[in-house]
């Protein structure tokens, strides 16, 4: 019985850590990026490059902050894809490449969506 209790406590701790990371970081951060990247799409469409540059700088900083924790829980390949996409987007905005920036924004939104989907406890993910 003692070992069942010990293993149950360890299991609850591990699940607790995962739930804490998901509900305090992965969930809110992905929602933040969906909302703001959709807003940034409109800014790029209107070719307001100054505002777009400021926004992407903020989103990049926030991303590197979130990544520090995510690296322990999320597949490294997914994080590398976001890294690469966010940097590309920065370059496209800097060079005022409207079409490429819009395409990269859509790509980035999908990458965040995929992370949230993969970590979410759903029947589709289980099977």
């Amino acid at each position: 019985m003692r070992m069942v209790v010990i293993s149950l406590i360890i299991l609850i701790l591990i699940i607790g850590v995962w739930a804490w990371v998901y509900y305090t970081s992965i969930g809110p951060v992905t929602t933040y990026y969906w909302d703001n990247l959709t807003g940034l799409t409109d800014v790029v469409r209107n070719e307001d490059w100054e505002r777009a540059s400021k926004d992407i700088a903020v989103y990049t900083d926030k991303w590197y902050e979130a990544k520090k924790l995510w690296v322990f829980f999320v597949n490294q390949k997914d994080l590398d894809n976001i890294d690469s996409s966010i940097r590309q987007l920065g370059v496209y905005i800097e060079n005022k490449e409207k079409i490429l920036a819009q395409a990269e924004l859509e790509h980035l939104i999908v990458l965040f969506y995929v992370i949230d989907e993969n970590e979410c406890l759903t029947i589709e993910n289980i099977f």
Binding site: S7, L11, V74, N75, K77
Partner: protein
């Protein structure tokens, strides 16, 4: 280098898990023990090979397996029914000249397997043995007299009480009246709950071991 560090971490976690799961799991391989060993081996290798996969995934899966193993071990320790479902029951394959063909077919074992197992145990003739039992961990037990002139085993002991529970199936199967068991318990001033293991020997004598 990362692989080496990950290997050390996973080795430590597996070692702790195996210690928590207990010695029984290391010594004998019940069907579910085998499954657990294979799964743990696979889970340990996965995060070691794939450096993109977070170590946390491997740790979480190991902890889940460890908990399930501890839970199943506990349940099978406490409940005879669960033990039967999880571990199965031993099958008497040979009993004083009679083969249990029904169980042989059910367990998909043939005469060659039985003869091979007998040879491994040092027996070459069915005349020399009284019982051949296929245990739940797949091993074969042979009940035989120590020498050809020694007394033959008439019947293997039949469990009547296990972990404080009366083995009603055995009583019915071997026509043992429950009154007889109760009278024997009364004589010994015991309640069946106090008995860890009770059996009836080949001379129809009830023997009880207290908790």
């Amino acid at each position: 280098m990362i692989v080496a560090v990950r290997a050390i971490i996973l080795y430590t976690i597996l070692l702790i898990s195996m210690r928590i799961m207990g010695k029984g799991d290391l010594g004998e391989l019940q069907p579910f023990d085998l499954v657990v060993s294979l799964m743990l081996a696979e889970l340990a290798v996965m995060p070691m090979e794939d450096l993109d996969a977070p170590l946390f995934h491997g740790i979480m899966a190991t902890v889940v397996i460890m908990f399930l193993q501890c839970l199943i071990s506990y349940v099978s320790l406490k409940s005879n029914t669960a033990r039967k479902i999880i571990c199965g029951v031993p099958s008497v394959i040979y009993d004083h000249g009679r083969f249990n063909v029904k169980d042989m077919n059910r367990l998909r074992i043939n005469m060659n397997d039985i003869l091979g197992q007998m040879r491994l145990k040092g027996y070459y003739n069915f005349e020399d043995i009284d019982y051949l039992i296929l245990e739940t961990n797949g091993d074969v037990s042979i009940v035989a007299p120590e020498s050809k002139t020694a007394k033959r085993v008439k019947r293997i002991p039949i469990a009547t009480i296990l972990d404080g529970k009366i083995m009603r199936n055995n009583l019915e199967k071997f026509d043992i009246p429950i009154d007889k068991l109760e009278n024997s318990l009364k004589k010994e001033k015991l309640r069946y709950r106090d008995v860890l293991y009770g059996f009836i020997d080949e001379n129809d004598k009830f023997i009880f071991y207290k908790r």
